[in-house]
């Protein structure tokens, strides 16, 4: 990094002042004249149908309520089109259009939309919608489906499907095999064997911004202000549901108040809001309630995982098996890919991974921060801790012994990999060498103390993206892409990348996101925005610079006329001659006097490709080390100290990168100790609250990054950073709880009843 470079500098967020003054605009903040308010009415049963008599009566009551303009229900909803299988086979987009008939496939399914002049009137109208149902038996868990009489996959030609199935690979990535096998058919008979069953509960993304949509028609043109993190996908999906041309829809997602995997794959309320606006001829605003967010905007599905490890006398893995049973709804496909990283994280000649998905009468799940890795590494990394214990080895030494220096799944080398350095540096910073092997060895202030660690990993991904460049006469250059600022810092990082690639100062560059009028970009997920949109911005800024230099060497009045292109450059906002002593010229003065032809020449749209399909494999790694205190008298585990060392390629902005990793660890802390959507097992009704980490729950953090650069994935060396923070975190905490208490816990979250001493038997000496 030189003094001029913006990449690598810990600059503040470019939209920071807006966010601290209340000026920042999110979808629901959009003020439209004469907007109407919509409130959703949802099913209270898990399977069956609403009776038409009760629905007709409810609609009549609501329509007669003060201020109610319209009640949209299966009785009057214009038919919405079905999505093609190409959209629904690999992404959690629902096959069944909303309000298409009276049947109910899950609790919280939309049954009506009440539209009124004010929010209060819409809420009152919706409260009058008491409905009666003809109930059918509901299958609420994967085990019920698997063990039931209709266990086999069925209904593949219908919208509503049942049974279990085994998808071949993850999304559109055939090499990410969900059913995979390497080495001998049978598990070796010799060696130390660990075999454990793990469960993870349903988790909610719980972004603090509620899913919010405002739909407004102007003739045949529809504008949707929406809290989405996939503008391009939503536009295509919505156009299909509504049966209108894609280019008649504009999607605006100004800023997004957190997503973590939700707010994408277009949830049904968006289509209903647009339909209600078309029916009433006026703009409609629909904000999904916090309760409805649990059933209507996705969640991380439950998993049951079986993991078996076998190691030889030298502690080398000889076999690794990871089998996942998970759930999706009867109306959409999703598979939590828990076993993907088991295929390559540790060297093992034998590997078996499988995923089985059961269709249950519950809402549609979707990606959530660290999809696959968060629950999968919980199982794998706890099992590794068990194996270390069985071998009487330090857990870190076991991992180093089984370090994989290349990607075993593909047989290709890593592009830029520093896992051993993460282990060593993290261990030093934490003081891991002082860890006593025996559990229940450390105490402080009357409570037990334990230390745990886990490996983190997440793929480096990159999809195609576009970027528009607009050069203004005032000397600023604006870059734009239909990506999304969900809090990851994309606008800041893109500004830094653009500034360096164009040779301009940060203050002369701006980046805009959140509008389908900008060139298309992929969904903001899979930790790929910096690599994907960053590549589009990098290439566009490089092309902009080339065009400026081309101009100055061909313009006869320029001091650089007839210079060789390679002898001039733009650095820190100055046009400079590399060889000669020619004085530099500010780009700003060139632009201030530029004619419209030059400004037009410097205003253009370009794009970048997806990740290269061959060559080395881009994969991020990291190591987590943590300390917990466990008070067995009240059953409380507190995480007190955290050291994480991450290997994510080049870091664009260390301040924002640290925040991202802290956020990921905090997300994982919630998953480990608090978070579960609790249901009554008989009825599927939600019970109680969803607990999240607060200010009072987080440890002291020590976050650092190894000095890597992944030139294979991106020209500027970055990979991505959004997901890796959470990966391995629940395992590190569970391992620390084991070290503190001697209790090996296999089910998340770890709550008070798992840790209380008066009710549990005194922990056994695990090594005896």
């Amino acid at each position: 990094m030189t003094a001029d470079e913006a990449i690598g500098r810990p600059v503040n967020r470019v939209e920071g002042d807006d966010k601290v003054t209340g000026r920042a605009r999110y979808a629901a903040d959009t003020a439209l004249p004469d907007v109407q308010y919509a409130v959703l009415v949802q099913s209270e049963i898990s399977h069956g149908s609403v009776t038409s008599d009760s629905l007709e009566a409810a609609v009549s009551r609501a329509e007669a309520a003060p201020g109610v303009v319209c009640v949209l229900s299966p009785l009057n909803c214009p038919p919405l089109q079905m999505l093609p299988e190409a959209l629904t086979w690999d992404l959690p987009l629902e096959r069944r259009p909303p309000l298409s008939d009276l049947t109910v496939q899950h609790r919280g399914q939309h049954l009506a939309v009440v539209v009124a002049d004010t929010l209060e009137n819409a809420q009152f109208g919706a409260s009058l919608m008491d409905l009666a149902y003809d109930e059918l038996p509901a299958l609420l868990t994967a085990r019920e489906v698997l063990d039931g009489s209709e266990g086999g996959n069925h209904g593949d030609d219908r919208m509503v499907r049942g049974g279990v199935y085994q998808p071949d690979h993850f999304v559109k990535l055939p090499e990410e095999k969900l059913q995979d096998h390497r080495g001998a058919a049978d598990e070796p008979a010799e060696g130390t064997r660990i075999s454990s069953r793990f469960t993870t509960p349903e988790n909610a993304h719980y972004p603090i911004e509620l899913a919010s949509t405002i739909a407004s028609w102007d003739g045949d043109r529809l504008t949707v202000y929406d809290s989405t993190r996939w503008i391009a996908g939503e536009r295509q999906t919505l156009a299909t549901y509504l049966g209108v041309p894609v280019d008649s829809i504009r999607i605006v997602a100004p800023l997004v108040g957190g997503a973590f995997g939700s707010k994408s794959f277009m949830w049904m309320h968006v289509a209903l809001c647009a339909t209600a606006a078309r029916m009433t001829g006026r703009a409609v605003k629909l904000v999904v309630s916090r309760d409805q967010m649990f059933t209507s905007t996705g969640h991380r599905p439950r998993t049951e995982q079986h993991l078996s490890l076998v190691a030889d006398a030298q502690a080398r893995l000889t076999s690794i098996e990871h089998h996942t049973l998970t759930e999706t709804s009867t109306v959409a496909h999703f598979c939590e890919p828990a076993g993907l990283s088991t295929r390559f994280l540790y060297r093992s000649p034998r590997m078996v991974v499988s995923h089985t998905v059961a269709r249950v009468n519950r809402p549609t799940p979707c990606f959530m921060r660290g999809p696959g890795e968060a629950p999968g590494l919980f199982a794998l990394e706890v099992a590794m801790d068990e194996l270390a214990n069985a071998l009487r080895l330090d857990p870190l030494d076991l991992r180093i012994t089984n370090y994989a220096d290349q990607d075993q799944a593909s047989g290709r080398p890593w592009s830029d990999e520093h896992l051993i350095e993460c282990y060593r540096r993290g261990s030093d910073r934490f003081g891991w060498e002082h860890r006593p092997h025996q559990p229940r060895s450390l105490r402080r202030d009357g409570v037990l103390v334990g230390w745990g660690m886990a490996t983190a990993t997440y793929p480096g991904r990159r999809m195609p993206a576009g970027c528009h460049v607009h050069t203004r006469g005032d000397g600023t250059v604006e870059f734009s892409s239909a990506t999304h600022e969900v809090g990851t810092g994309v606008r800041t990082a893109m500004t830094q990348i653009a500034a360096d690639a164009a040779g301009l100062q940060l203050s002369r560059v701006a980046f805009f996101s959140g509008d389908s009028d900008y060139p298309a970009a992929p969904y903001s997920g899979a930790s790929q925005t910096t690599a994907a949109v960053g590549s589009a911005v990098f290439e566009a800024a490089g092309e902009w610079k080339r065009r400026v230099l081309e101009h100055v060497i061909t313009d006869e009045t320029s001091p650089y006329a007839r210079c060789d292109l390679s002898s001039v450059d733009i650095r820190g906002g100055q046009i400079v001659s590399i060889q000669s002593a020619q004085p530099s010229t500010p780009v700003a003065s060139l632009l201030a006097t530029a004619d419209s032809a030059l400004l037009d020449q410097l205003t253009f749209t370009s794009g970048s490709e997806g990740a290269p399909e061959d060559g080395p494999v881009s994969q991020s790694f990291g190591a987590h080390f943590c300390e917990v205190e466990v008070d067995e008298h009240i059953g409380r585990a507190s995480v007190t100290r955290w050291v994480a060392v991450m290997d994510c390629g080049r870091v664009i902005n260390p301040k924002l990168a640290r925040s991202q990793v802290i956020g990921g660890i905090t997300f994982g802390l919630g998953m480990a100790l608090m978070e579960q959507v609790p249901y009554d097992p008989g009825t599927g009704h939600a019970l109680g609250e969803y607990y999240l980490p607060t200010h009072a729950d987080v440890p002291v953090f020590d976050i650092s990054f190894v000095d890597g650069t992944d030139r294979h994935l991106t020209a500027f060396g970055a990979r991505g950073i959004g997901e890796i923070g959470i990966c391995g975190v629940p395992a590190a905490i569970a391992n620390a709880v084991y070290h503190a208490t001697g209790r090996r816990l296999y089910d998340l979250p770890i709550t008070v009843e798992n840790l209380l001493s008066p009710f549990g038997n005194a922990p056994q000496d695990p090594t005896s």
Binding site: R13, T21, A31, L255
Partner: protein, 183 residues
């Protein structure tokens, strides 16, 4: 209830120093009044149940969750929202500290966090105690702690949830303001 008969009431408030008289549905919360009637959209709706703290504003010098505050119940009150903290273009020191310490990511809980922190500084100056004060020296219990430890700030901010997990940065931002903003 028949069409048009839902009761309305006029409330008079001082909002960010500006007197406002506004007709409101008696069912309306202060949050919906601010956002939907007065277009003061800086205050955010995160749960509408008093759980998350995103809608925190100051009413008569005390922090409240505006989603659980009926607008008609505070007739005559002085309300301070996130839009009223800065002095023109000059950010309040707390606002600047949140920017400098990266005390937010998505920014959606931020107005509530800053409004809470702003009230926290006043509560500290007044000598108010928190549960964490009982972990300190007993002399703190008479007049309130002289300074606020990290644990004090964490405890006093625990009602504001940040799902992005900016907590340590928020605490640093608030701590950096204590010498000049506290008592």
């Amino acid at each position: 209830m028949t069409a048009g008969s839902h009761p309305e009431h006029t409330v008079e408030l001082s909002i960010n120093g500006v007197p406002v008289a506004v007709q409101t549905d008696v069912r309306s919360t202060l949050l919906d009044l601010l956002r939907e009637r007065l277009q003061l959209t800086g205050t955010k709706k995160g749960c509408d149940h008093g759980l998350c703290g995103a809608c925190t504003v100051n009413v008569n010098g005390r922090r409240v969750v505006s989603c659980l505050t009926l607008a008609v119940s505070i007739d005559g009150a002085t309300v301070l929202t996130i839009e009223g903290l800065a002095d023109g273009e000059q950010l309040h020191p707390l606002q600047q500290a949140f920017v400098d310490h990266d005390g937010f990511q998505c920014g959606y809980c931020t107005p509530g966090q800053i409004s809470s922190a702003h009230a926290l500084l006043g509560e500290h100056a007044r000598g108010d105690l928190s549960a964490a004060s009982f972990d300190g020296p007993y002399t703190d219990l008479a007049r309130g702690p002289e300074t606020l430890s990290t644990n004090e700030i964490r405890e006093r901010m625990a009602g504001n949830i940040c799902r992005c997990g900016a907590y340590p940065n928020i605490v640093e931002a608030i701590a950096s303001c204590l010498p000049e903003c506290g008592r």
